[in-house]
C-alpha cells in the first residue's frame, strides 16, 4: 500500500507493537515480581521474580473445580454445536440450497442479541418455568452453543463450498455407501479443517466467556479469576497470563492447520470471533 512511506509505516508498526505488548509485560511483572509498584526502581528491577503466586492459585481447590466446570462445559458445547451445525449445513447445501440465505441470517442473530441481553431474557423465561435447568452448570451449554453458531456455520460453509459436495455424495452412494458411511468416511474427513477450526474457536470462546456465567452465577474459570483478583491478585493475573499464552498457542495451531489445508479465509468469510 504505497500511500504510506516506508519509514512511516515502520514507525507506526513499532508504536503498535509497543501498545500491544506493554500491557502484557505489565501483567507479567505484576504477576511474577514480589515488589510493590511504589518501591520499584532501576536497582531492583530484576529482583524477587517468582512464580509462587501462580503456583498457589494452580493448587487452589476452588481453581481446580472451576477449571473442571469450564472444561466440561466447553467439551459439551463443542459436541452440541457440531452435532447441530454439521447436519444443518450439509442439508442446506445438499437438499435446501434456497434456504441457505435464511440459515445464514439466523446464524448471525447471536450478534444481534448481545450476551448480556440473552442472559437477561434467559433468566426472565427459564427461571420461572424450569428452575432446575438453570441450576445446573450444563445449562450454559446451549447458550454457549448459540454464541458459537456464527463462526461455526461460517467455517463449515466455507469448507463445504470448497468441496464438490453433490458429486462426492452421489459417487459414494452410487458405489453403494450408506448415508452414515458417506458422512463418516467421506464428508467428515474432507471437512476436518473446518471442524477443527470451529471446535478450537468454540473451545476458546467458552473458556473465556464471563457475561452469561457471571449472571447465572456459575463458577467457571473466568468467574474464579474475577473473584481471585481480590483475594490473590498475583495468582489471578498469573493465571490470566497463562490463559492468554495457551489461547495464543491454540490459535497458532489452528492457523497452521488452516494453512496446510488451503480453505483460506477471504474478506467475505472473515472469521470474526466477536468478543464476549
Amino acid at each position: 500500500m504505497k500511500f504510506l512511506g516506508k519509514i512511516w509505516s515502520r514507525l507506526y508498526i513499532a508504536i503498535a507493537i509497543v501498545f500491544f505488548v506493554a500491557p502484557l509485560l505489565s501483567m507479567a511483572r505484576f504477576a511474577f515480581q514480589r515488589i510493590p509498584m511504589i518501591s520499584l526502581g532501576k536497582d531492583n528491577l530484576f529482583k524477587r521474580w517468582t512464580i509462587d503466586g501462580l503456583l498457589t492459585t494452580l493448587r487452589d481447590p476452588e481453581f481446580l473445580h472451576s477449571l473442571s466446570v469450564s472444561l466440561k462445559v466447553a467439551f459439551f458445547t463443542v459436541l452440541v454445536i457440531l452435532f447441530l451445525m454439521v447436519p444443518t449445513t450439509l442439508w442446506v447445501h445438499l437438499s435446501a440450497p434456497r434456504w441457505r440465505g435464511v440459515v445464514e441470517t439466523v446464524t448471525i442473530l447471536p450478534y444481534v442479541v448481545p450476551p448480556i441481553a440473552l442472559v437477561v431474557g434467559v433468566s426472565g423465561t427459564y427461571r420461572s418455568i424450569a428452575p432446575w435447568f438453570l441450576a445446573s452448570n450444563y445449562s450454559l451449554v446451549p447458550f454457549y452453543a448459540i454464541l458459537a453458531m456464527p463462526f461455526t456455520f461460517r467455517s463449515l460453509d466455507v469448507g463445504i463450498k470448497a468441496l464438490d459436495l453433490r458429486t462426492l455424495v452421489d459417487a459414494a452412494k452410487s458405489l453403494g455407501a450408506s448415508s452414515g458411511r458417506v458422512m463418516w468416511n467421506i464428508l467428515l474427513p474432507n471437512l476436518r479443517t473446518s471442524l477443527i477450526n470451529a471446535a478450537f474457536l468454540t473451545f476458546t470462546v467458552v473458556l473465556g466467556e464471563f457475561t452469561i456465567a457471571s449472571l447465572l452465577l456459575k463458577r467457571t474459570l473466568p468467574m474464579y479469576m474475577a473473584q481471585a483478583q481480590g483475594s490473590e491478585p498475583q495468582g489471578a493475573l498469573g493465571l490470566g497470563l497463562l490463559i492468554l499464552v495457551l489461547t495464543t498457542i491454540l490459535f497458532t495451531l489452528v492457523s497452521i492447520i488452516r494453512k496446510k489445508d488451503s480453505t483460506s479465509i477471504n474478506v467475505k468469510n472473515i472469521n470474526v470471533g466477536m468478543v464476549p
Binding site: V113, L244, F251
Partner: protein, 300 residues
C-alpha cells in the same frame, strides 16, 4: 445394497432422483436447527420484549419508556459515544496498521506473524484483558509509573482506567486488530494493475486513492465500522472488571436489575434496557448485512 436413506428410503432410484424426492421436504432437515435457535435464542429475546412492555407496579409509564429517560438515557448516550469513538479509532488505526504491515515485504514471516497475533488480540477480551490494563495503566500500573517518571501524573490529569478515556484505550486493544483482519484482505483485493492503469492514464497517487482505491474500500471500511461498533456496544466483561461493576455502560447497568435485590419493583427496567440494546444491535447488524450484500455484488 441396503442403503438406509433417512430422506426417502428408496432402493432403486438414482442419486439424482433421490435428491429430487427430498426437495419436496427440504426444510425438514432444518427443524432441529430452527428449534434450537427458537428455544435458546429467539424465545428468550422475545420474552424480553414482552416483559419490558408489561406495566410496572408503581409507575405510570412502561419500563420501555422509562429506560430511555434520565440516568438511563445518559448511560445509553455514554455507551453509544464510547462505541462510536472506539469504532472510529479502530477503523482508522486498524486500517493504517494493515496498510503499514502490507507495505513491509521482507521478512516474509512478518506478515503472517502479525495476522496470527491480530487473530489472538481481536478475540482477546473479558477478564484477562482487563487485568493486563489494570497492571499497565491502573493507578499502580507499570506504564502509569513510567509516565510519572517523565513528569506526567495520569491520576492528577483525571485519567482512570475505568473512566471514558480508560475504557476507550482498553477497547482499542481488540478493535484495532479486528479492523486489521478486515482490511488486510480488502487491501489485497486492490490489484496492482489498477493503480498502474490509473498512473498510465496520468492520475496522481492521490487521484488514484480518491477516485479508485477509496470507493473500492468503502464497503470494507463501512462494514468494519458497524462491526466494531456492535463489538464495543455489546462488550460487558472487560468494562465490568475494569470498573469493579461500577461503569456507566448499559450492559454493566443491566446487572443491577438482574440481581433483583437493589431496587425493588423495577425488574422490568432490566428487561427494557436489554430490549433497547437488541433494537440498537438490530439496526447496526441490518446495516452491516446490507453493506456486505452490496460488497458481494460488487465482487462478482
Amino acid at each position: 445394497m441396503g442403503q438406509s436413506d433417512p430422506k426417502g428410503g428408496s432402493h432403486t432410484r438414482t442419486p439424482l432422483q433421490r435428491f429430487q424426492l427430498t426437495v419436496k421436504f427440504k426444510p425438514i432437515g432444518l427443524i432441529p436447527f430452527f428449534g434450537f435457535v427458537g428455544l435458546f435464542l429467539v424465545w428468550p429475546a422475545i420474552s424480553l420484549f414482552r416483559l419490558a412492555i408489561q406495566p410496572t407496579k408503581d409507575s405510570d409509564i412502561s419500563a420501555m419508556r422509562e429506560a430511555i429517560t434520565g440516568d438511563y438515557l445518559d448511560s445509553f448516550i455514554y455507551t453509544i459515544k464510547l462505541s462510536v469513538l472506539t469504532a472510529l479509532l479502530g477503523v482508522l488505526l486498524g486500517s493504517l496498521l494493515a496498510a503499514s504491515v502490507l507495505r513491509i515485504e521482507r521478512p516474509k514471516w512478518f506478515r503472517n506473524f502479525m495476522t496470527s497475533f491480530a487473530g489472538v488480540a481481536a478475540n482477546l477480551g473479558g477478564i484477562p484483558l482487563a487485568f493486563a490494563f489494570i497492571a499497565a495503566l491502573g493507578t499502580q500500573g507499570l506504564i502509569t509509573k513510567m509516565i510519572d517518571y517523565f513528569g506526567v501524573n495520569l491520576s492528577d490529569a483525571g485519567f482512570r482506567i475505568s473512566n471514558f478515556a480508560g475504557i476507550t484505550i482498553v477497547y482499542l486493544y481488540f478493535q484495532i486488530p479486528l479492523m486489521f483482519l478486515i482490511m488486510v484482505p480488502a487491501f489485497n483485493g486492490l490489484r496492482a494493475s489498477w493503480s498502474e492503469a490509473a498512473a498510465s492514464l496520468g492520475a496522481a497517487p492521490w487521484q488514484y486513492w480518491r477516485y479508485v482505491g477509496l470507493p473500492l474500500l468503502t464497503p470494507a471500511l463501512l462494514g468494519g465500522f458497524l462491526l466494531l461498533f456492535s463489538n464495543a456496544f455489546s462488550a460487558y466483561a472487560t468494562a465490568y472488571a475494569l470498573s469493579s461493576g461500577g461503569a456507566r455502560l448499559v450492559p454493566v447497568q443491566i446487572r443491577f436489575f438482574l440481581q433483583g435485590n437493589t431496587i425493588t419493583g423495577k425488574d422490568n427496567l432490566g428487561y427494557a434496557l436489554a430490549a433497547w440494546m437488541i433494537i440498537i444491535m438490530l439496526i447496526t447488524m441490518t446495516g452491516y448485512l446490507f453493506v456486505r450484500r452490496r460488497a458481494e455484488k460488487w465482487q462478482q
